[in-house]
Symmetry: C2
Subunit: 400 residues, 2 copies
Amino acid sequence: MAIREKVFNTIISCFKRHGAETIDTPVFELKETLTGKYGEDSKLIYDLKDQGGELLSLRYDLTVPFARYLAMNKITNIKRYHIAKVYRRDNPAMTRGRYREFYQCDFDIAGQYDAMIPDAECLKIVHEILSELELGDFRIKVNDRRILDGMFAVCGVPDDKFRTICSTVDKLDKMAWEDVKMEMVKEKGLSEEVADQIGEYVSMQGGMDLAERLLQDQKMLQSKQACAGLSDIKLLFSYLQLFQVTDKVVFDLSLARGLDYYTGIIYEGVLTQAGESVSASAQKVRTTEVQVMVASAQKNLLEERLRLITELWNAGIKAEVMHKKNPKLLSQLQHCEESGIPLVAILGEQELKDGVVKLRVVATREEVRLRESFIRESFRRRPCHIISDSHDTNRYCHLK
Amino acid sequence: MAIREKVFNTIISCFKRHGAETIDTPVFELKETLTGKYGEDSKLIYDLKDQGGELLSLRYDLTVPFARYLAMNKITNIKRYHIAKVYRRDNPAMTRGRYREFYQCDFDIAGQYDAMIPDAECLKIVHEILSELELGDFRIKVNDRRILDGMFAVCGVPDDKFRTICSTVDKLDKMAWEDVKMEMVKEKGLSEEVADQIGEYVSMQGGMDLAERLLQDQKMLQSKQACAGLSDIKLLFSYLQLFQVTDKVVFDLSLARGLDYYTGIIYEGVLTQAGESVSASAQKVRTTEVQVMVASAQKNLLEERLRLITELWNAGIKAEVMHKKNPKLLSQLQHCEESGIPLVAILGEQELKDGVVKLRVVATREEVRLRESFIRESFRRRPCHIISDSHDTNRYCHLK
């Protein structure tokens, strides 16, 4: 959860930097709202039992609920993000990270704008987030559904097979061309010749240059749709240059994406190499942010511990105390070591008599005796320097 | 959503200050996990349709999923918070804020500890959160299920009616005593005499003094259970004194709470007077945090706008640009006023020639001409002072 929180914070900061607000929609929608939006995937929708009242289903993505929200509230212009869970009645595959409940993270710009400017901003956002998360090197593949449809048309795919051939092409990132071709020919009834023509196009990758070259392609020129898509890809790349993100963006004709509701530009980010943060997931992560533990060295000091921690909490300091009347000092120190609490404030009879608290750095076992009020004030100002301040030396305790 | 975010941040900071980590559980549980945990309320559980696979239900609260999580993962010690939505197939009453999907905000301390220390910390947390949210004056009512059960016993309620009489007592905050008594006598079959004895106890309110007085009460003394509960309330108040929160905590014998799984201390916060933040909900709230809008005064400056905003985004500044090739200056300024963006960076041909940007405070219409690099650097350091710095005067633009 600590890692998830960090990742979400990175993503949300980026969305806010781009001026997005956030909205929230319920986890269920009317069943009829979801019907007919997801093509072949509709069978994976979770329905609620009919216990009286409306027929409901769990949301399958955040896009259809967003569209429903805009329509119901008559909103025509909004830039919003939504990070929430969606539900798919799939066969879970934990090892591949496929669950039946999982997060989606949507950023949408709704409204009437000039072509490709909002799309370019979306790609800039993907670029910023993937860079900041430091997951490793990445590429962002882009394509346009109109280019795919136009290409299918000029290759001789019948109109009513566009969608189904599209989902077959989408498998190219997981399957070899031979198997994709087989599915097109054997299962979906294309001729080998048509499949081979598709095969030639979907192997193409490039940037603005590829869009320009295809705009000269005699076969592509037969499709108005394809040309419109290619011109937009060209325009998109001109904006991506201004946004300084063309280093990672690839125009890839094999990118198809599965869902029925895509009609224009589509894109997908892929990691080309796992970075350090991914492989370091076995590292120990602190699950709390506690700065100091209030402990006692002798018995019968519960009251004094509770009094001190009240002072610390009231001063906004993240602090813990053991919920035992007479915990052993050793077990209090062990708790600090196990959960990564860097400092421990130890109360003993001598300290109480002298009106001070012993503050100990768990890692180095350094100790200083401080007035209680001094601890409170120093923590509030600069928790990192509390030890060195009191000694006036250069020894620091490093808190994260 | 901006208000919700602020409220959640206040609550989460408090939980973190008290050393809690957070966990997440799925929105659905096995139906059998929820069966038999909620007493009369079980009929409000949402079930999923049987589409093959396990029988599932939507979570009804966060407590049963937490207990399931602890048992499955064999965790015996944890201090955790969980803020998430729960689902109840109830009749929604929007005007009273009752929905079928709503947030619960749980903080739990699991483990074996000395009596009342964790409970006192929970009350301290409730006190801190309700104070910091500034919703108005409040009280935290506390009671103990064992005191209720003991009281029912000494008043002559049959054992098998404890739970149902308990849910009737729980209605005392919404119904007059006469109606509650009627329900006990007419619907639940108590004698008038028994009901009147209960009525006497449940009108009592106080602090540690009331617990001490009841520990002398001849009738209460007949119940070991009640005495155990009363001693714990006394102990609890001694810790609450150390935590400095007794000003708001009331021992209230009418507090019953509905759910079957409570066995010891129970409590509930109530607002005794609505504060300003509640009544101020009609105030306009900014939904984004954008600091500056990049605008142009003439046509054909899209490229320049995109170039400047890229610089700002890359420097971490929250900035927006209109997604039109040639937006009118007026409509760009209007957008700033409507959405509360405090500054606008205006590009024009003259400015481009001079290598500067005109920066305008939306509210006062003050303008200064600044070098682009200066804007970037100043924003990064102190967005508030960008205008006054450049003029070396005392005029400030106040950003939140």
